[in-house]
């Protein structure tokens, strides 16, 4: 009996603390500064760890372990330059070597496949999951690591799970309740309040620290917000600072419940699986949505899949055919504190939630000036222009490759294009001597 009473007391104290320090401030969008203190301690600890690791490993292996430098020096020159000589000149045996060399280099190191696995860290951040090339250094470091494990799994994880549970429940209950009200500005205001509060709670459940830049460019109603995609968390990160109408497929299970509740309070755009395949239908519905200037801006991720946040891959043109104003947003995570990337083709949702045991999720969000399609620019060119802008702002590499290559093979047409270009080069001047 005594044990049960004690457990009850601890639980109620715990919940009161959570309520007071986290939930209430979330409603008002206020921060008590607890996370800031946590982050400062964390940063100091990681700096100390980095210094110890550097002292402990011999000089040569530090250079060799450098993840940011590639393993080989690649020749990045395009086909015309690589096949030395003037355009339209004839075939030379060395041309074969150009292609062979490119092929071999691609085997050792290529631009695409590395984007579908988590970014390698320059120095270890005391998480086992990122321990790729680092070895045992000293007892003190190991002790700190053990302490870190205890803190993360025994203190932070229960807290985070509690918060996530509360956040999601509040979202479902809150939006259902608000959905009962008749359409009015009160309803919209309440719906925004519920969405924002629950998103803030969920972000705190990940120990998220987000810096928003250029808030004056925050997406406006009637516009389309596009951003680079790294993880499902992206949605949370953006909706903590503003309300968006989300676009996506209807899911089953818990996601489905959340989706159905949310759409009662505020017009999100959910599609059935069959409807997603009909591009015209999708475009039509989105056009209708943005035509209504009172509706919230749509949130779209044109890459169509999660990329590991080191680069921006091809933007699908569908989002750019709808018209309207595009508000680009760049999101860059700091991988030192926790990795948010989810490769859904390799890892399932449960292993992804392991992310809740990392130190924190730290990221920067840059809002950018709105862009519209110019005269004579087609959707693909517009998409590429927006993609470049986002890549430059976020400090990411820009790639023309399709993110869908995570799952699918590359199209044969691309190979044929290479062959065609090469053929033009060797018989371009119309004659073969």
């Amino acid at each position: 009996m005594e044990g049960a009473e004690l457990a009850g007391k601890i639980l109620s104290t715990w919940l009161t603390l959570v309520l007071g320090f986290i939930l209430l401030p979330s409603v008002f969008g206020v921060s008590l500064g607890i996370s800031e203190i946590y982050m400062k301690i964390l940063v100091k600890t990681l700096e100390w760890a980095t210094i110890r690791i550097e002292k402990g490993t011999p000089k040569e292996s530090i250079l060799k372990n450098s993840a940011s430098v590639g393993i080989i020096q690649r020749d990045e020159s395009p086909m015309e330059k690589g096949l030395s000589g003037l355009r339209g000149r004839d075939f030379e045996l060395s041309d074969v070597f150009y292609f062979s060399k490119k092929g071999l280099e691609a085997i050792v190191e290529d631009e695409v496949t590395q984007r579908f696995s988590s970014e390698e860290l320059v120095s270890w951040n005391l998480l086992t999951r990122t321990n790729v090339n680092f070895q045992y250094i000293s007892l003190r470091l190991t002790m700190v690591w053990v302490l870190g494990v205890i803190v993360r799994y025994c203190v932070l994880l229960p807290l985070r799970v509690t918060l996530a549970f509360i956040g999601i429940s509040l979202l479902v209950i809150g939006t259902t309740l608000v959905g009962q009200l008749p359409d009015s500005s009160l309803k919209n205001w309440l719906s925004e309040l519920v969405h924002l509060t629950c998103c803030r709670i969920c972000v705190r459940s990940l120990s998220g620290t987000i810096h928003y830049h250029n808030k004056q460019y925050r997406p406006q109603k009637g516009g389309i917000c596009v951003a680079n995609h790294t993880s499902p968390i992206d949605v949370l990160i953006l909706t903590t600072d503003g309300c968006y109408a989300m676009v996506g497929q209807v899911h089953g299970g818990l996601m489905g419940i959340i989706q159905r509740a949310m759409v009662k309070a505020c017009p999100h755009v959910w599609f059935e699986r069959s409807e997603m395949k009909d591009r015209h239908l999708v475009t039509k519905r989105l056009k209708e949505h943005i035509a209504d200037k009172k509706k919230l801006p749509i949130l779209i991720f044109p890459e169509g899949t999660c990329i590991n946040n080191t680069s921006v891959m091809m933007f699908k043109k569908g989002s750019f055919e709808i018209g309207g104003t595009i508000h680009p947003v760049a999101i860059k995570y700091n991988p030192q504190f926790g990795d948010a990337f989810w490769n859904s083709s390799k890892y399932n949702m449960v292993s992804y939630l392991l992310m809740m045991t990392s130190w924190a999720i730290v990221c920067d969000v840059w809002y950018m000036p709105p862009m519209t399609r110019e005269e004579g620019e087609d959707a693909v060119q517009f998409a590429n222009r927006v993609k470049s802008a986002i890549a430059i702002q976020g400090g990411l590499t820009e790639l023309p490759w399709d993110g869908g290559l995570k799952r699918a093979k590359v199209k044969d047409t691309l190979k044929e294009e290479q062959q065609k270009n090469y053929s033009k080069m060797i018989v371009g001047n119309g004659s073969v001597s």
Binding site: Q73, F91, F99, S100, V410, I426
Partner: protein, 161 residues
Amino acid sequence: MGSQASTLLRNEELEEIEKETGLSHCQITRLYRRFNDFQGIPELAINPVGNWIINAFFPEGEDQVNFRGFLQTLAHFRTIKDNEKSKDVNGPEPLNSRSNELHFISHDELLKVLCMMVRVHISDEQLGSIADRTIQEADQRGDSVLDKVDVEQKMSIRFLH
């Protein structure tokens, strides 16, 4: 992860490979990850001679290649400077041959490679005449085949340390 390659190959084997190929432990670790799906690399898939390169890794007549064979093949293409340091490998050589012996490039082989690089965009007769001309120009012995060509600049891969 980094430890997988080390556990797959015993320490002695690892040392032997390091001596044979001149690749460092860290490079071998990274290459192990590449080995696991080197047939699914997009940049290789769009390369006109991509399939030919992949086939080069498989020993005669076999349809499987192990990690060690993979490394040995790659190591052939290190620069002469690196290879001199390791002293074990006979320097880089054209992809046309997979052994250290002299290999002759025949007219048919050349035609085959040309076909791969251009596919349907150039007619067969044109391809035939390109191949003839190339061999004529390069052929110094007059026996209609080409000798091993010095390809250090064009074919070697510069491994960084």
